[in-house]
Symmetry: C2
Subunit: 247 residues, 2 copies
């Protein structure tokens, strides 16, 4: 049974401030939760689930004390869920731990002003598909532990390390490294060699990469437009660029 203080606590985790204070975040739905339980770099703190979900074999939560598992009725799950269609299980996890970031020796993604939580999650899932393990976000990007972002990563949040900071300063720390940037006027991404290491910068969909960061781009790249659409969604552009630069 769900008690009032639990409802309040989970609702408070809808705010970044409380997530940061507590060092935890919320994941929902059997598929995503299953991936995170298997991940090994984050710990389930409390599991809220329908009897139906708990009745299935869930080896990953076998070692949890009974006090960390709450069986819910559907109406109770609806009270704590942030999804329009709550789905069987909600878990409070500790934030994942990642090895120290090393931008100098691999390909990484730099996100400038990606404010839509769903878009950010989709981009992390794309990064994970292409084996990119490090993403640096400008401080005005959406929070990676926002429920919508966690949901859109489809479990990739446990495999892609995300940090927030001053992107022009980050770029400046690696003077010899190729820094690609998605722009409307650059070299065709179809003509690039796959670089092996470097930074790939994606900007805000309507404003592009902000001027301070744009000045630090060493290789502006473009997805040639054949038709007439005004722009591409930032996640779609990320997918296309990675498919031509990674591997």
């Amino acid at each position: 049974m769900l008690v009032k203080s639990q409802v309040k606590y989970i609702q408070s985790l809808g705010h970044k401030k409380f997530r940061d204070q507590e060092g935890v975040f919320v994941a929902e739905g059997p598929k995503g939760v299953q991936e995170l339980l298997k991940a090994g770099n984050m710990r389930p703190v409390h599991v809220y689930a329908l009897a139906e979900w708990l009745g299935e074999e869930q080896p990953a939560i076998r070692s949890l004390p009974p006090s960390s598992i709450t069986t819910l009725r559907q109406e109770e799950l609806e009270r704590i869920s942030s999804l329009t269609t709550p789905n069987q299980v909600l878990v409070v996890f500790t934030k994942p731990e990642f090895p120290t970031f090393d931008f100098g020796n691999s390909l990484s993604l730099l996100l400038d002003g990606i404010q839509d939580p769903g878009n950010l999650g989709t981009i992390l899932r794309i990064a994970d598909w292409f084996g990119i393990r490090q993403v640096a976000c400008s401080t005005d990007c959406a929070d990676v532990f926002n429920a919508k972002t966690v949901q859109s990563t489809m479990g990739s949040i446990c495999r892609v390390g995300v940090m927030y900071g001053d992107l022009p300063a980050l770029v400046a720390r690696y003077p010899g490294l190729p820094v690609f940037g998605a722009t409307l006027e650059g070299r065709s991404v179809y003509e690039m060699e796959r670089p092996g290491k470097g930074m790939i910068v994606i900007g805000n969909e309507s404003k592009g990469i902000r001027p301070e960061l744009l000045a630090a781009i060493r290789v502006p790249v473009t997805i040639p437009r054949i038709g007439s659409a005004e722009s591409l969604n930032a996640a779609v552009a990320t997918g296309i660029i990675l498919s031509h630069l990674v591997g």
Copy 2:
């Protein structure tokens, strides 16, 4: 001033059945509306807008009779808008007209079970970017004139012709044509020649291309996975595949 019958009429256009009966659809927001007003293959039937928007130079609606333009207050716009943040203008347009479809001599996109309206709109915008003018949808795809789809196309709806029908039957009508299909086990999309003409089939994100249509695919293609994400969003996969096959 907005009258009750107008509110009811616009709300009824939220349903496909009424849109089909009336042969019209609703577009919202200055950017998208502007693109559609310029398009030439659809006619504005009624413009509902804030005085602010009407005060700007709007040559495309100059020829409309005054009875086809309603000036609204913000609260009134909120009553008829389907957006969370209503944006200055809502226009009822006649459905666009496109030249007759010709699948045999160009590249076209076939969408199988794309049920999310936002995803469908994003895919049409990608098609427009890559100069694809013809999209055939299975009958269980979202409706292209759904408000969310129209919104996500960002104006591309006026440039990309969409038809609905039996996709295996459509493929069967073009026996010699290359038919590419996005699958998890096919030839790497990186190793393909750009074909110039043919059909590119994209399936439902979680279920893939349905068996009847899969059997008709002549060239299964795959986006090689380097990392660990379980799948790619259908729109992202479309963008990547088109960037390797079109041009």
